[in-house]
């Protein structure tokens, strides 16, 4: 067995989703290689070579990969697939975009969003917004998998000594081109890997009111998230969304503020270690999953909580 992890990076460092996929790869067994496609990505390759458990780093350094278009990255992955039994990537917007295309080109099934490895071809994954857990066995010779980041510890970024090999670019599919991006800039930790997440829902009433959550998140060293309702209402951008079809988070502490707790939202955060709910409706379903609930006006309680955290214990 040999596993290829299709790596995602920002030009300087590997994404946490890739490090979690490396851990899943080690559970599958066999050698672990990481593929990096990028333009001027030598620093990432050196960082990837140090990741514990990685044997080889394959680098396709070409201007073609300056932005990871699915058509071109899938073409590259397929050109290298011959030597591998398993092809893995994180189940984030990069992996979800690229890997099913790879699977189809190889005429094999994909197992999406795995949460556990039970055998080389047996995986556990959530279905129905995590309201059921399905154990599936792949029957194809090659297995394509995307990995839920919160279900696997990220591999250590030190301790490895992998060999770096250059691989040729696979050519431009000529189907798509990159125009631009409007990315949220934040000094706060990334939502999916933050130790603390403070999320707001429709109860926040406006985008301005999210400043209350930002202050609380900053006090706790956390990230700010939101329910679908808050994103749909335009309070915050789409990348804040936690839930079945948004981001999956599992922080040490999740604070849900003004969020009623629809099953689609719970799907994205119910694996958090400790959940706190602040809501004025004591019947809100969020209280059924919260370890600590407090019923009341968030506009009073959130500033009060931020202030209380300033005092030493």
């Amino acid at each position: 067995m040999a596993v290829l992890v299709v790596g995602e990076h920002d030009g300087g460092a590997l994404k946490a989703a890739t490090l979690s996929a490396v851990t899943a790869a080690q559970k599958i067994g066999g050698g672990v290689s990481v593929l990096l496609a990028g333009s001027g990505c030598a620093p990432v390759a050196e960082a990837a070579a140090k990741v514990a458990g990685v044997d080889r780093v394959l680098v396709a350094d070409d201007p073609l990969y300056a932005n990871p278009l699915a058509e071109n990255v899938a073409k590259l992955v397929v050109s290298l697939a011959g030597g591998f039994s398993h092809l893995l990537a994180g189940a984030d917007s990069f992996g979800k975009n690229v890997m099913p295309r790879v699977a189809a080109l190889l005429d094999v099934a994909q197992v999406s969003d795995i949460m556990a490895v039970e055998g080389p071809k047996v995986f556990v994954r959530p279905i129905y917004a995590g309201n059921a857990m399905q154990t599936v066995e792949a029957t194809d010779e090659k297995v394509v998998v995307t990995v839920r980041g919160t279900a696997f510890e990220p591999a250590a970024v030190e301790g490895g000594a992998a060999k770096i090999e250059t691989v040729p670019a696979a050519g431009d599919a000529g189907l798509s081109s990159y125009v631009g991006a409007a990315l949220s800039r934040s000094e706060r930790p990334e939502l999916t890997s933050a130790r603390v997440v403070v999320s707001g829902g429709r109860g926040m009433q406006s985008g301005e009111n999210f400043h209350l959550l930002e202050k609380l998140a900053d006090k706790l060293g956390g990230a700010v998230g939101a329910s679908r309702a808050a994103v749909d209402a335009g309070y915050v951008p789409n990348d804040y969304q936690v839930g079945q079809t948004g981001k999956i988070v599992a922080p040490e502490l999740y604070v849900a503020v003004g969020i009623s707790g629809a099953i689609q939202h719970l799907a994205g955060m119910k694996d958090s270690k400790v959940i706190v709910a602040i809501n004025k409706d004591e019947e809100a379903p969020i209280f059924q999953v919260a370890d600590y609930g407090i019923v009341g006006d968030l506009f009073q309680l959130v500033p009060e909580l931020t202030q209380a955290l300033e005092k030493p214990s």
Binding site: A70, E71, S93, K96, N97, P100, A104, L105, V108, A109, Q110, V111, S112, D113, P126, I127, G130, N131, A132, M133, Q134, T135, V136, E137, T139, D140, A173, S176, S177, Y178, V179, G180, A181, A182, L183, S184, T192, R228, D232, P237, N238, D239, Q244, T245, L253, K273, V274, V276, E282, Q288, V289, A290, D291, Y292, G293, I294, E304, L305, A308, L309
Partner: protein
């Protein structure tokens, strides 16, 4: 230009699913079913393209058992012009769905194909990407804005960091995200009219596709249950619990 949309019949998003006692799947008998919400967004986008004069015809395709026709009727009531039902009782997994859709697309020759980014039953998020791969077409996944301009389209996509815009050649596959549009409700007159719109019946055999599942489901179980915790009265009590009991701050 013809637009083709794929629509899937799934358990209604508001139904709480129950795992079957024999752990083979989830309970589907006597459960309210509906069109996959992401596919509704796809149908809406297709109809808007027609209303804007950019599309000439909207074809809604569904695959599965006889009740899938109801889902096609819903699309027709929203405003699609005609339906295609690929009837089979075999469990359809994303790769088989993509192959069946590819066969339909080769017959229909649409200029653009819109599918939901994921179905809310198996949550796979694969079909559109697989279909694009099989056809050798571009893919614009997780779309929140679609602009057709001449021979191509500019699509804004919801990605982890925010929004990304790409340009694709047509024909292409678009997969919908939540913010692409807000689907309309079908009016009563349109529901009546939809009953007269044609639905063509096809089979996997007629399309020359083997829909056999590639993934074997070994079991389906309930996830670990989270116990409801306690209600605290004051912020100070909450801080004490988080510091001293939960030890997370």
């Amino acid at each position: 230009m013809k637009v083709l949309v794929a629509v899937k019949r799934v358990i209604d998003a508001n139904v709480k699913v129950r795992v079957k006692a024999d752990n083979t799947g989830v309970e589907l008998t006597n459960v309210k079913m509906a069109m996959n919400p992401f596919d509704e967004i796809g149908v809406e986008e297709a109809i808007r393209l027609k209303e804007a004069g950019k599309a000439t015809e909207v074809v809604a395709v569904s695959l599965g058992g006889a009740p899938s026709q109801e889902t096609i009727r819903t699309a027709l009531a929203m405003g699609a012009d005609r339906g295609i039902h690929v009837q089979t009782d075999v469990e359809l997994q994303p790769l088989a769905v993509a192959k069946l859709l590819k066969a339909v697309i080769e017959k229909e020759q649409p200029g653009i194909v819109i599918v939901g980014k994921q179905a809310i039953d198996d949550d796979s998020n694969q079909t559109g990407q697989m279909l694009a791969g099989l056809l050798g077409w571009p893919q614009a996944t997780f779309a929140s804005k679609l602009n057709i301009e001449g021979e191509g389209a500019e699509v804004t996509r919801e990605v982890d960091g925010g929004l990304e815009t790409i340009r694709i050649k047509l024909p292409a596959i678009i997969t919908t995200d939540l913010r692409l549009n807000e689907p309309r409700y079908a009016s009563l007159p349109n529901i009546m009219k939809a009953k007269k719109k044609p639905i063509e019946a096809l089979t996997p055999e007629a399309l020359g596709v083997d829909p056999k599942p590639r993934l074997k489901t070994l079991k389906v179980v309930e996830p670990p249950k989270r116990q409801a915790g306690i209600k605290v009265k004051t912020v100070q009590e909450l801080v004490d619990k988080l510091r001293n009991d939960a030890k997370v701050i």
